[in-house]
Symmetry: C2
Subunit: 227 residues, 2 copies
């Protein structure tokens, strides 16, 4: 797939645009480029999984991992989405991932904003039932929080794999949205005697705290922390 | 309203339980107590707003503020939810707020987890159209990111208020879920020579960075940063 806007490069791999992945506002903040979308997804492990239950929307936080153009989403926050996804027809979902990068504090209340990067993926999710794929998915979920960790812990037993609830979503109808500007004050507000500016926001992972039963030194795969 | 479980205290104010606010798994991690729910909501300004469009789920990140038992949710991430909420019958929504507190790294892949606090609120949202309520809502949205700030910036003009898209959700069918334990390893895994433990996760707001048009020193209401 390639970007389909006249005048832009056509050799940047991108996901296809559809009516629901083209925003109704701030179109210039949107992108469908695979690399940009994958980078946002790979920068966190928390997603918000939306589905419809009895006609009403439900949004649950859970963890996910990307493997190529496929998302694996942990279903343990509730068995309801898993029940739907276990049917042959699957479960329509929306998976959203958001990073907050800064508070944008303007001279007017109206122009306050947030710098952020988000990905919204629409599609039909299916429960992963094949033991080999489940093994890949569970390892990916562990490695998405701490790269390289899945090889350094006890692998899942067949019984544990059978009790692992994971759904799969192919990335296809997906877009990213980013705001990374400074303050956008009205020209007539610029000289007002108010403080305006940015407050940077970061997610910090602190120093690892070993459990009482840990007798080994911090292994190499944990050396990324604190970060 | 009071907690309705026999044997528990009946004088802690709590939201009523309904089938969709009683989780199907890990019931002991759930609470309906107002204070616990409000504390989780007040600890951030980012929520994920879920609604149904053309039969399919949509989840968008946006900012919100709590005023009493009412949530005000900014609608600028897309006009689609606002269009639905502007009807008299309102828009069924699910608003979810999540804090990640730690990675929980076990000796087995299967027992990896996340410490978190989340709130899930179900209900019908309505667009705020009354100018006075819009004024309150916009001030609350500014003050929810930086307490006291709305009084220190230029207030919204009538034209800006008319262009401010905010929806209101009464907190009624709402619950919180928390995991705050250490590592839960299997007894037979405790002596395995793997590193297990927690990695604490925090959201850090850095030092304020003034805009080029800011000529005043950092005001008192900004002294909370960095935090």
């Amino acid at each position: 797939m390639s970007v389909d806007t006249p005048g832009t490069t056509t050799d940047t791999p991108a996901y296809s645009r559809t009516p629901r992945t083209v925003p109704t506002r701030y179109k210039d903040r949107a992108t469908w480029e695979q690399e940009a979308i994958h980078t946002i997804l790979d920068g966190t492990y928390l997603c918000h999984l939306g589905f419809v239950a009895n006609g009403a929307p439900v949004v649950l936080p859970t963890i996910f991992a990307r493997v190529g153009s496929r998302l694996y989403i942990h279903g343990s926050t509730g068995s309801r989405p898993l029940r739907g996804a276990s049917d042959e027809q699957g479960l329509p979902v929306c998976v959203t991932v958001t990073h907050v990068d800064a508070l944008v504090l303007a001279k007017s209340a109206f122009n306050h904003s947030i710098n952020f990067r988000s990905v919204v993926a629409h599609g039909t999710a299916y429960q992963v039932t094949d033991p080999e794929e489940l093994d890949v998915a569970l390892a990916a979920l562990v490695d998405h929080t701490v790269p390289g960790r899945s090889a350094e812990v006890r692998p899942a037993s067949p019984k544990e794999l059978a009790a692992t609830a994971v759904i799969r979503l192919e990335l296809d109808e997906v877009s990213a949205k980013t705001r990374s500007d400074g303050v956008n004050d009205e020209p007539e507000d610029l000289d007002l005697p108010h403080w305006a500016g940015l407050v940077p926001v970061t997610t910090v992972h602190g120093a690892p705290e070993p459990s009482p039963h840990t007798t080994v030194p911090l292994p190499a795969h944990m050396s990324a922390f604190p970060r």
